[in-house]
Amino acid sequence: MSVSVPSLQRRRNFLQKIVFNVFRLASLINGLALFIIVYFIVAKGWKAINWTFLTQPPVDSMTKGGILPCIVGTLCLSIGAILIAMPIGVASAIYLNEYARPGPLIRVIRLGINNLAGIPSIVFGLFGLAFFVVWLKMGVSIIAGALTLGAMSLPVIIGTTEEALRAVPDTYREASLGLGATKWQTIYRVVLPTALPGILTGTILGISRAAGETAPIMFTAAVFFTPIMPSSIFDEVMALPYHIYVLATAGTEIEATRHLQYGTALVLIFLVLGMNLIAIIYRSRLRKRMQ
C-alpha cells in the first residue's frame, strides 16, 4: 500500500497533464479557426482593395468597379438600426436594473427579451417584410431595414447596458439619494454618467453586429444593384453582406468576380472586427479601472 501510493499519485498527475492538454487543444482549435478564416480573406482580398474599389460603384453588371454604394448602404443601415435600438434598449435596461422590483412582471419582461434574442435572423426578416415593408407601406427601404435590424439588436443593447449599470457601485446611488436627490436625478446625474463608457461599448458592438447581418435585410432593404446613392431613408440600398452573397451565388460570372467577393468580404470583416476589437480593448481597460 505504502509503495503504491506514490505511483498512484504519479498516474493521477500524468492523467491530469494529458487531459489538460486536450482542453488546451480545444481552445487552440477555436483560435485557429478564427485565424484561418481571417487569413484567407485577407490574403485573397487585399489585392482587390484599391482606391477605385473603395470609391466607385460597380460597373459592367457588377463584374468590375467598386463597392462604394454597399459601404454607404451598410453604414446607413447599421447606424440607423442603433439610433432606433439604443434609446429603447438603454431605457429598458434602466427600468430593469434601477426601477423594477423582483416579481412575476420582471420575469415576464426578461423572458420576452431572452426570447427576442433567440429569434432567428431570417424570422426578423419575415417580420420586417410583413410589418414594415408591406403593412406600414414603407417599401424596401433603409428605414424598413434599419427598424428590422434595430429590433434585432435590442436584446444586445439591453444586455450590455445592464452590465454597465450593474458595475456602478451602490454607494454612488446611496450618496446621491442621501443628499436628497430623487431617483430620477440620481439616475440621470450619477448612474448614467458613470455607466456611459460601458453603454458606448455595447453600442459599438451593436453597430458591428447590425453591419454584418444579411438575412434581416434581404427582404426589407437590400437590392442586387442600384446605380444611385441613397438620397432619403425611403430609398433601397446595396449592402456589403448582401453584395457578397449575391456575387458568390447569383452573379452572372461567379468565378470571374471571385476577387471582388474576397475584397468585399475583407472590407466587411475589417469594419466588423475593427469595431469589435476597439470595444473589447476599451471594455477590458474599463473593467480594470473599475477594480
Binding site: 477555436n30 426601477y99 410589418f131 473589447i280
Partner: protein, 297 residues
C-alpha cells in the same frame, strides 16, 4: 416644489416601464405578423400534410407544400454541428475558467468573442469557396456543399455562445467548493470533473441549448453551404435545404401573397416555434436549478 419632483418621478417611472415593455410588444408583433401571413397556407394544405409532407415543390403545377425534408435538414445540421460545438465549446470554457493563467485567458477570450463577431455571410463564403472544394477532394464526393460542411461552419458559429455562457456558469461556482475538494487530496483535474462541472451543470446545459438554438436559426451559412436540395438526407455528405435557407432563397421569387409566399411564412412559424421551445427549455433549466449560494448544490 416637492410635488413637482414627485410628478417627474412618477412620470419617469411609468415612462421607463412602458419602454421596457417594448421587447414583449415586439415579440407579440412578430408572432402576430408571422401567423397572419403564414396561416392562409392551411386553406390549401392541412397542417399535417404541411409538416409531414415529404415533397417540397412549391412552383410545380399543382404545387407540393410538404416541409418534412426541410425540418429533417434543419434538425440534422443542428445535431451534427452540436456534436462538434458542444465538446469544443465546453472544453474551451473549462480551459479559460479553470486552467489557463490569467494572461492566456485574456488572449483566448477575445478570440472567442471575435469568432462570434464574424458575420455569418463571411463564414458562409469561406465554407463555400474554401472548405467545399477541400472536402470534395478529400472525401471524393460529388459536391462539397453538403450537410457536413454546413454543420462544420455552424459549429464555429455556436461555439462562442456555448463557450461564454458555460464559462459564466463555471465562474459562478463558489471557490470554497474547489478549496474543499483540493484539501481532501483531489487533484486539480478531479476537482474540475467531480466538483466544478456537476455544480455548473445547469448553466452549461442552458449554454448548450442556446448554442443549438443559434445553429438551427442561422440562415446565411446553410443558404450558401448546405447544398440546397430539398431531400431527406441519407448520408452526411448529401446536400440539404434547411428551413432558413428555403425561406431566404425563395422569398424573392414567390409572388406576393401567393400560396408559396404563405408557405414560406408558415415555414418561418415552424422555425420560430423550434427556437421558442429551445429558449423556454433553457430558461426553465436556468431558473429551476438556479444556484443560490452553496446550500443548493
Amino acid at each position: 416644489m416637492a410635488n413637482k419632483r414627485q410628478i417627474t418621478e412618477r412620470t419617469m417611472h411609468t415612462l421607463f416601464f412602458v419602454v421596457a415593455s417594448a421587447s414583449i410588444v415586439m415579440l407579440f408583433m412578430i408572432m402576430i405578423f408571422l401567423f397572419m401571413e403564414g396561416i392562409p397556407i392551411f386553406n390549401e394544405v392541412s397542417v399535417k400534410d404541411f409538416i409531414f409532407g415529404k415533397y417540397w415543390y412549391p412552383t410545380s403545377e399543382p404545387p407540393d407544400f410538404g416541409i418534412l425534408s426541410l425540418i429533417v435538414a434543419s434538425l440534422s445540421v443542428t445535431l451534427l454541428s452540436a456534436l462538434i460545438s458542444i465538446p469544443l465549446g465546453i472544453l474551451t470554457a473549462i480551459y479559460i475558467a479553470e486552467i489557463a493563467s490569467k494572461k492566456v485567458g485574456e488572449i483566448i477570450k477575445p478570440m472567442v468573442e471575435l469568432l462570434a463577431a464574424l458575420p455569418s455571410v463571411v463564414i458562409g463564403f469561406f465554407g463555400m469557396v474554401l472548405v467545399a472544394p477541400f472536402l470534395q477532394n478529400i472525401f471524393n464526393i460529388p459536391t462539397g456543399l453538403n450537410l457536413f460542411n454546413a454543420s462544420l461552419m455552424l459549429a464555429f458559429m455556436s461555439i462562442p455562445t456555448i463557450c461564454s455562457l458555460s464559462e459564466d456558469a463555471i465562474h459562478s461556482v463558489p471557490n470554497s467548493l474547489r478549496e474543499a475538494s483540493l484539501a481532501l487530496g483531489a487533484t486539480h483535474l478531479e476537482t474540475i470533473l467531480k466538483v466544478v462541472l456537476p455544480a455548473s451543470l445547469s448553466g452549461i446545459s442552458t449554454a448548450v441549448i442556446l448554442g443549438m438554438s443559434r445553429a438551427i436559426g442561422e440562415t446565411m451559412v446553410v443558404l450558401m453551404v448546405a447544398g440546397g436540395a430539398a431531400l431527406i438526407p441519407e448520408s452526411i455528405f448529401d446536400p440539404v435545404r434547411p428551413m432558413p435557407a428555403s425561406i431566404a432563397s425563395e422569398m424573392a421569387e414567390a409572388p406576393f401573397r401567393s400560396a408559396h409566399y404563405h408557405a414560406l411564412f408558415a415555414t418561418g412559424i415552424v422555425l420560430f416555434i423550434f427556437t421558442l421551445l429551445f429558449n423556454i427549455i433553457a430558461d426553465h433549466i436556468a431558473h429551476k436549478y438556479k444556484q443560490v449560494g452553496e446550500a443548493t448544490l
